[in-house]
Symmetry: C2
Subunit: 147 residues, 2 copies
Amino acid sequence: MSEVVAIPVLSEEQATARLREHGILPTQQRLQIAQVLLTRDQHLSAEQVLELVNATGKSVSKATVYNTLGLFAEKGILREVNVDPIRAFYDTNSSAHHHFYNVDTGELSDIDSGQMPVEQLPVAPAGTVVDEVDVIIRVRNADPVKP
Amino acid sequence: MSEVVAIPVLSEEQATARLREHGILPTQQRLQIAQVLLTRDQHLSAEQVLELVNATGKSVSKATVYNTLGLFAEKGILREVNVDPIRAFYDTNSSAHHHFYNVDTGELSDIDSGQMPVEQLPVAPAGTVVDEVDVIIRVRNADPVKP
DNA sequence: CTGGCGATTTAGACAAAGTCCAGGCAGCGG
DNA sequence: CCGCTGCCTGGACTTTGTCTAAATCGCCAG
Ligand SMILES: [Mn+2]
Ligand SMILES: [Mn+2]
Ligand SMILES: [Zn+2]
Ligand SMILES: [Zn+2]
C-alpha cells in the first residue's frame, strides 16, 4: 500500500507575493517550487527539491528545478550553501547567518545569530569587493563515552 | 613544437621526510604527487594535480591521484577546501587559516592570519564536537569606475 | 635467491550532480 | 485568432569522483 504523507505547502497567494516582491514572474512551476520550499527554514539539495515537488502530485522537470533554484538564489529568495563538493544546498533562510555542518550525517543547521560575533572583516584583495561571508563550522559526532 | 616548462619540484628526500612525518608510506606515486604539490602554498583541484604530475613526465593514474589526495588530507598534509559545488580544492597550507574566493575568476587566496580575528565559537549541537572552522569570504571583481 | 603476501596502483566501467539543446507550450498584446 | 517572447521539457551530454578486478610492488621468510 502506498503511504500518504501530508506535505505542508504555502498558499498560492503567499507564494505569488513572495515571487513578485523579488521581481520574479510567477509561473506555474516556480509557484509549485516556492510553495513546497518557502514554508519554513530548511536546507535542501536540488534533488531533494525535485522529489519534494513531485511528491505533491504536480510534476516539474529536473531542468526547471535547477533553473528555478538558480534564479531564486540570484534574486535573493534562496541562498546557495556550499559545504560539500558533491552537491549544493539551498537555504530558505536568505538572511545573513552561518552554519554547522555535521560531516558524519551531512546535516546542516543554522547558527543562532548573536551566538556568532560579527568579526571585523579583512581587507579584500585589490580590485574586488566582498559579496558574502560564509562561516561553516564542521562538527563530528562525539565519540561515545569511555568506560 | 612542444613547449618545455620547468615545473618546480621538491627533492625526493624532502618529500619522503614530509610523508614519514605524517605516517604515510612513501611510494613512488605518493612521492611524485608530494614533490609537485608541496613546493609552495597553493590551492589545486584533483584534475589540476593530475595534469601537473603528468606534465613532469612521470605518470600517475586518476584513481591514485584521488586516493592520494584523500589520504594526504586525512593525515593532515593537505586541507580540503569546499567553495564550489562542482569540485574540491586541496590546500597545501594545512594550518588553520581562512580564504577569499573570487566568484568571477574562481581564484582562491589565503587570508593573512592576524587580519582575521579569532572569533569566539558558538556552542556545537548536542552530541557533536567541532572539527574545523572554515571562513570563506566570497568576493566579486569591483565594477569598473563610473565616468 | 625465490615464492608468498598484504598493500598499492591501474584502466576503465560506473555513478551522481549539473548543464545544454532543440522543440513544444503558455500567455499576453494586438 | 495570431504571433512573439519567454518558459518548460526530455533526454543527451559533461564533469567530477568512486568502484572494481586484475596487475604490480616491496618486503621478508625460508
Ligand atoms: Mn569528496
Ligand atoms: Mn552551480
Ligand atoms: Zn541556514
Ligand atoms: Zn589556503
